[in-house]
Subunit: 358 residues, 2 copies
């Protein structure tokens, strides 16, 4: 049974949970904003549906509610940030703000992060750059669910790439994509419906195509964007690998099959080479390349020309990356956020655990 | 009929052609190296097969053999370079060297380029960064052959992304990928064989699936990586769009459907908003993040672990991006470069035009 909850009420509840975990007021506000950005934008798999997961990680001491997030190395345009096992939901905005500050001084800023945790949706962090007239770039690695081309072993996370670009009169361009055929959240929707997944999304433990949406539970793997070799899965694998290297290897975090799992009950991989999960952030000042006015005029032209591209079906025009999420946000800010039954039950049990009103 | 030609002989011939076009000695050497990097690495569609195309663009004054390539705007970590309509084959190494110099000073360098032409293979330029212990990043837009998700109109080029990462004892990681299901060069191979393309590579002028490898000649389009919406084509479209924005909009070059075509006989698009083709280059100094030793040790571990990932078929282990091209290069440096009959005829007619021995 679905429940509709207003943004303000959900915000208050989530904030109270983070405070109850011991987060500072500033961190609790940041974490709440990041988490709710997912629910508002319609990425339900990355919003309050994950709140109980964060709580469990905190309970087993894999998340530090009072981290000292700090820069361990830097140059004028780069930094490595150690998240001190904090919530990725607060480590990421910190790292992005470092990138933005560097960009103010030398044109661009690039920050690789180790010792972090799941950071919610990438777009929430990339959009920080938009407010400063900068392009925002965000990546993160994640625990291994994806098999490289030719392999039956899970070696990469769904490793998303987000790029947010400001425009003038048009809304910003915001691409936020897992480097797999389908994000894990899409699978969860099918699981709830009891529906099969399309061919090309997953393989079974032997590396054969499988459509059972629960196949990850029996040793199956998600497939890199492209699906199979003939359709370019080696490209999706390469993109996921780039995200892993920029996030994990460049920062000293874990990478590949060693990235810590999100579920607290899954044991940590052995012989981990690094610290926690890794992220990567970039900020590029527009006027480090062209005047902001000239750039935005051309971005408006870009967006309008692509919207006007001849459609295959007249009722479905070409979308600009970020369109569906913006439409969803406008609707949910006005009408409330739908919470599916299982997630509502989850939130109620968190409310009970911390004695918070929901 | 295929012809086998030694690298040294092909090098001498191509250099002489660029000299005959009026290029300086330095530019002719650079252009020759870039072009032959494609043939050596097995990207035959981007090597001497395109030499006659460059000659024809020069003949119609769309390529300037004596360009004054220059920086038009810069900050400590960024620059916009105007290629002065020069060969992309020489504009690109110049722009990459600017990125590398900036990285030496402030950790990273980022260069967006306008007023350029086709630059050969992206990997040739990204690999320049490897020699300096830097990560190299290269993108370029190209004339429109790709339809965005939901459209039947060609709006984007095959817009490649290349990332080259140095390792320690292992060879470097070099991913160089068109943001389409299949690069145009793959289609050309099928055309020569008279074979059909797999479903998911192309659509016809109405936006319906088509397998005829010649479909681009009758208004068809290549498909973004992912192939169709259900398999993530909106992600391939977004990636191609990011390349277009970084290369074209950020530099003041053309973008989207306005990017100049490579064949000299195809008329230029009307109302072009910018100058020439656009590229984007990045260089990130490894030790701007971690010590080079620590990073390379982890990259070696990354590469070895991925090579050792459980294969689906024991005779085909997991490849590291760059493996097939490096194997090809070793073979062709030793045994010569195979040139297909049509390309050989093309080279002979260039030899005749400029009265150069082949």
């Amino acid at each position: 049974m679905e429940k509709l909850i207003q943004q303000r009420d959900l915000n208050q509840f989530v904030y109270s949970v983070f405070i109850a975990m011991g987060c500072s007021d500033v961190h609790a506000r940041q974490a709440t904003k990041t988490l709710l950005d997912a629910d508002l934008r319609g990425i339900d798999s990355h919003g309050v549906a994950r709140l109980s997961g964060y709580v469990r990680l905190w309970e087993v001491n894999r998340i530090n509610a009072k981290p000292t997030i700090h820069i361990v190395h830097q140059t004028p345009s780069t930094a490595v940030v150690d998240g001190d096992s904090g919530l990725g939901l607060v480590v990421a905005p910190y790292a992005m703000s470092v990138a933005v500050e560097k960009a103010k001084h030398v044109g661009t800023g690039w920050v690789s992060v180790c010792n972090s945790n799941h950071f919610g949706i990438a777009a929430s962090h990339a959009m920080i750059a938009l407010q400063e007239d900068m392009i925002g770039i965000v990546m993160t690695n994640a625990s291994a669910l994806v098999a490289p081309t030719f392999s039956k072993e899970r070696m990469l996370g769904t490793n998303p790439i987000c790029v947010a670009v400001p425009a003038g009169e048009e809304p910003p361009f915001i691409a936020d994509l897992a480097t797999t055929t389908a994000a894990n959240g899409k699978l969860e929707i099918l699981q709830r419906k009891g529906a099969d997944a399309p061919l090309g999304w997953m393989q079974d433990q032997e590396g054969l195509p499988i459509q059972n949406a629960h196949a990850l539970k029996t040793g199956g793997a998600l497939l890199p964007l492209g699906g199979d070799r003939e359709h370019g899965s080696h490209k999706g694998y390469a993109l996921g690998a780039i995200v892993d290297i920029f996030s994990g290897v460049l920062s000293g975090a874990n990478f590949g099959p060693w990235v810590p799992p999100f579920p607290a009950y899954v044991p940590m991989p052995e012989d981990q080479p690094g610290k926690g999960i890794g992220h990567f952030f970039g900020a590029m000042r527009i006027d480090a390349f062209r005047t902001s006015d000239a750039f935005k005029k051309d971005m408006d032209l870009w967006i309008r020309r692509f919207r006007a591209a001849a459609p295959i079906d007249p009722i479905q025009q070409v979308l600009i990356p970020g369109d569906p999420e913006r439409d969803c946000q406008a609707d949910r800010e006005k009408n409330g956020i739908p919470i599916v039954g299982a997630v509502w039950t989850d939130l109620l049990s968190i409310a009970q655990k911390f004695n918070i009103k929901l």
